[in-house]
Amino acid sequence: MRLLVAWPVLAGSLLGLVTAAAQVPAGALPAPILESPWADLAGADAARAYEAVRLLIRSPDQAVPPFLKGKLRPVAPADPAQVSRPIEDLRSKRFTVRERANAELERLGEQAEAELRKVYAANPPLEVRRRVEQLLQKLQGPIVLPELLRAWRAVEVLEHLGTPAAREVLHALASGAPVARLTREARASLDRLDRRLTAPFRPAFAPRPATDLYGDPLPAGAVARLGTVRFRHPGGGLHVLFAPDGKTVMSTANETSLRVWDAANGKLLRGIDGADSLFVAVALSPDGKLLATAGVTGLGQGGGSVIKLWDTATLKERRTIAPLERFPVALAFLPDGKTLVSTGKREGKIWLWDVSSGRQVRAFKAVSGGPTLAVSPDGALVATTPGGGDRGVRLWDVKTGREVRKLKGRDRDATVVAFAPDGKTLATGGNDLFGVRLWDAATGRLVRSLAADDGTNFTHAVTFSPDGRLVASIYGRERGILLWEVASGKLLRRLPVADGAYGLAFSPDARILGVATGYGLRLWRVDTLEEVAGRAEGHRGLVHRILFTPDGKRVVTASDDETVRVWDAVGGKPLHVLGHQSWVRGLALSPDGRLIASSSLDDTVRLWETATGREVYRLAGHGRLGSRRALAFSGDGKDLISWGDDMYLRTWDIARGKALREHRVRPTGFAVREEGEEPNAMEELQNRGEGLHDGAFAADARALFLQVGAKLHVIHVRTGKELRAVPAPGGESLHVAPAGNLLLTTNWSQPGSLRLHRVPSGEHRQTIAPVGGQSGYAAFTADGKMFAVASGAPERRIDLWETATGRKRWTIPNLPAVPDALAFSPDGRFLAAGLEDTSVLIWDLLAEDTTRER
């Protein structure tokens, strides 16, 4: 079955492999041409090896009988005498004899393995023990001998062909020495060929859909999208602008990307993506035809600060105003649409630009010149927030450049300011505890303080509704939204935004509130606070964990949007939304797939029914801080084991939802905070998990692995005691293979440190060649034979590696967004990846267009 993964490109159709192979026209190839592929099969050049395989498969009739049959011989059981002699020699007093014996045993390789194990078990003298240990380690390591590699690949070819002749060769190989890896692989291969006929999971993906459930196109090879890309703007929203007709809405993200959406349904209409930091400030002309952006162009190439004007209908650039004296931080159009106002960083100046010519009309000195500015509706006044050592919000006459007045209040450090539509009232807010303050623009006197009673502090943004009835503000560290009635000063609604609000705007008809959030744009109806594009459609935050149910029919995802979701694996229909109250960072499925366990920063671990989405139990979690959570079911499915970076390790009885055991895990050299020793939240955030990178359970849930600093600690789950700690430099994230006793460490910040460790010993097996890019997320196939590693920006790709050889086999290139969590379907045919746009894409690895040779 696993071979499905191994030969995705070859299939060429969505039907089963056997059919696929039968469809390949059997071209006649002369024997000499077949010789060269054989030589290439074990080559380091993946492209040539791949080509070789294609050639062999193209003519199965020729390839198997005279060729592969002739080249492949079963591993002969070793002659006991041949082995016992060098083993005896290992005990020799003479160094040269021991060395020779060593070399001989290395040559014999697997044939000597059984004997070597016997010797090792008999507790030999130190010197013998050391040599035997080394020899055994080499045998368990990745396949490096070209001869064995060739045979290994040939087994794959044979399994793929699956013809009676191919089976015959496989049977021959399977009859070899039982300890040999090649023999075992041939047996496994035959087993898979047999099982394929009765495989329970036969996905019906034909014909492949061209779009997701919402009509948005799918990338090459992808068969389904879980969630949606509507209103999703990876990297996090900053600004939101409604067109005057209310039909389109724009968002910016990361200062480098701007997108225009259909305001009714969130469909992406057009966008600008670039490396330049162009969208520090944006403004839309009153008629909506021009977009002004301010930022930096030609980053790192001696570029400079610019203001650009764009045609909103085409997003074509109309004009560039450059070079600017100062880095622009705020922009606004005057109501006539002919003049643009800008302020600069650390400069007490206000500039006026003629929109049609791009020329500077006027620049006047202003004491302030801070992060934001607002233009009065009649265009006569500009309000600026303080900056550059100045304090206080000031109003300036646009025509004369004279200061008209200063707001008379204590909030001298306001960072945001907005005019009411009637121009009579100003709203300000800042990094203080005042909340939103309303001022009389004519006198500069404070009219009203809008402050929530519970000390929600800091105001990041403030805006009036176009009818002047409401004020909306973004508050606090959690960046939720407060909606106030201007006339009464009453707090109407509080709107928590799990992914955090960064910018906000009302639609021109005042009926919709648009909010730029951590993962894009969200629109709410002002009267009902109902979201325009519903929540059920998809995640609203990064997906950190993905799992397929054992039958392969469902996909379960856990996200920072405080939910766990259950999806139909075929087609991607959302089935259930399971709600937590904070990020969900741990996820596990019971062995029978009937229960979902999730661990969240809301201090709970919850058990759910996969079929119905019903919450079964709510168990104690691992605090509200830190971010590392791990969950696993015991092999018999009776226990759930949970760990978090509060360092508690708990075993729960699933039948009663009751804790059976609880341990405090204490990795050597790591200071675990004692009970009652409770620092304040700030210290907690700084100290907790210092050096603690990740935790993951072994597949059988008997051991917990913790990466602390440059060490991998192995913890015995039953007792909570540390069994050992082994060096594992550079490891950050841990990924355990469901089978095959391997664990992979990856690292976000250091490219190219993929390391395989053995389970349960933790001992290092292999460091994998540098891959470039960031590789934090990874996943193994169910049998552990392949693993996928995600690479972040700018590569945006997923690499598929072969565990046995430690070689990269395929790549899924050009993903639409940076990939995060990964998961294989149980049969290894499908790969699911969570993307930075909050959606999860599922690829059919058999589809020809999914992967590309390295």
Partner: protein, 407 residues
Amino acid sequence: MRMPARGFPRQPAAALLVILLAAILLSPGGRAAPADGTPDESPAFRAVAISPDGRLLAACSGEPKDAGTVTVWDMQTRKPRLHRSEKRGIPAVAFAPDGKTLAVGCFDEHCRLLDVATGAVKALLSGHGEAARAVAFSPDGKLLAVGSYDHTVRLWDTATRQVRTVFKGHTKPVYSVAFSPDGATLISSSPDGSVRFWDVAGGRPGQRIADHQSGIPWAALDVTGARLLTASWDGSVRLREVRSGKALLDLRGGAAQQAALAPDGRALAVCRMGRRGVDVFDLDVREPSAAERKRIGELLALLDDDAYEAREKAEKELAALGSLAEPEVRRAAKESPSAEVRIRARRLHAAARAPKPRLVLNHTDEVLCVAFAPDGRFVASGGKDGAVRLWDAATGKERATLLPPPH
């Protein structure tokens, strides 16, 4: 017009400009009374004290390097009676037991004794090395303790104006000092994380409490002297028996600045960093009755029941009992053989440490200081919004906004 105390431009020319500008802008209207009753520009109040007869209230302000003020209001008329400025900030004030003298600790290293009636400086106590950060009179008024930035507490004889004892032991500046009601013991607290007890007569150090994880800006004894209240930057506010050291109450939250206990010991007011509200909690530290004790035992046993619903229900009921069940719950969290009980008891214990306040008294900016009136009917608080506010301790209604006198 007073000038802004903070962010004052360093360059003389710019300073002049700002003064002129301020004068032009602000002079015609004079002192406006803004909508929320706080002055446009006034320094933050960092300590508040009420005279023993409850008729006067003193509050002081000013950062170490800025100018400072001390103001005394008449509680009846709510009008300022005395106002005095210093070149440096004033971090501490205390009334003498007879209410006629006010001790004022200043960042200029002096401690002044003011005649409350005339405002005259009766004495200038110098030689604190650095700032006089904390002041307290002994109950008989004969002694004045001054805690300083030089890590010491000096004990002054108020009659002779001589230093009687210098208590050394803190490893960081002393932020608060207080006498026991019998005058025999002096306590001091410091950012070094300790509260120290000093024997006043013998001049010797006594008990030392250092169980907070961070500095202790505020420590006080209740009116009986039997209970010690500490507010720490580690976020916990603790009330404990002095004799046994046993914690009676332990509240969690953000870094605490100050706390005050109602004279009858039934309420606690806390102000924390970055908060503009004073939290007022009701204290009920009585022993459970026999029936209650029995029920608590039953509920703790139910926490280990095999039925999930029964365990959930028992935990809810225990949570409702709050501090009454606290000692039992705390013991179960540590000692129960059942992991399930330990986990649930620990959760209950954590919840009991962060109860919902009965009242939140909101300023418009960060609150720095809080005190109860001697009759317990009022809470006074002051902070960065430049006002001292008087609150009804029962209802939380704001009764008065005390502002410094206009210039």
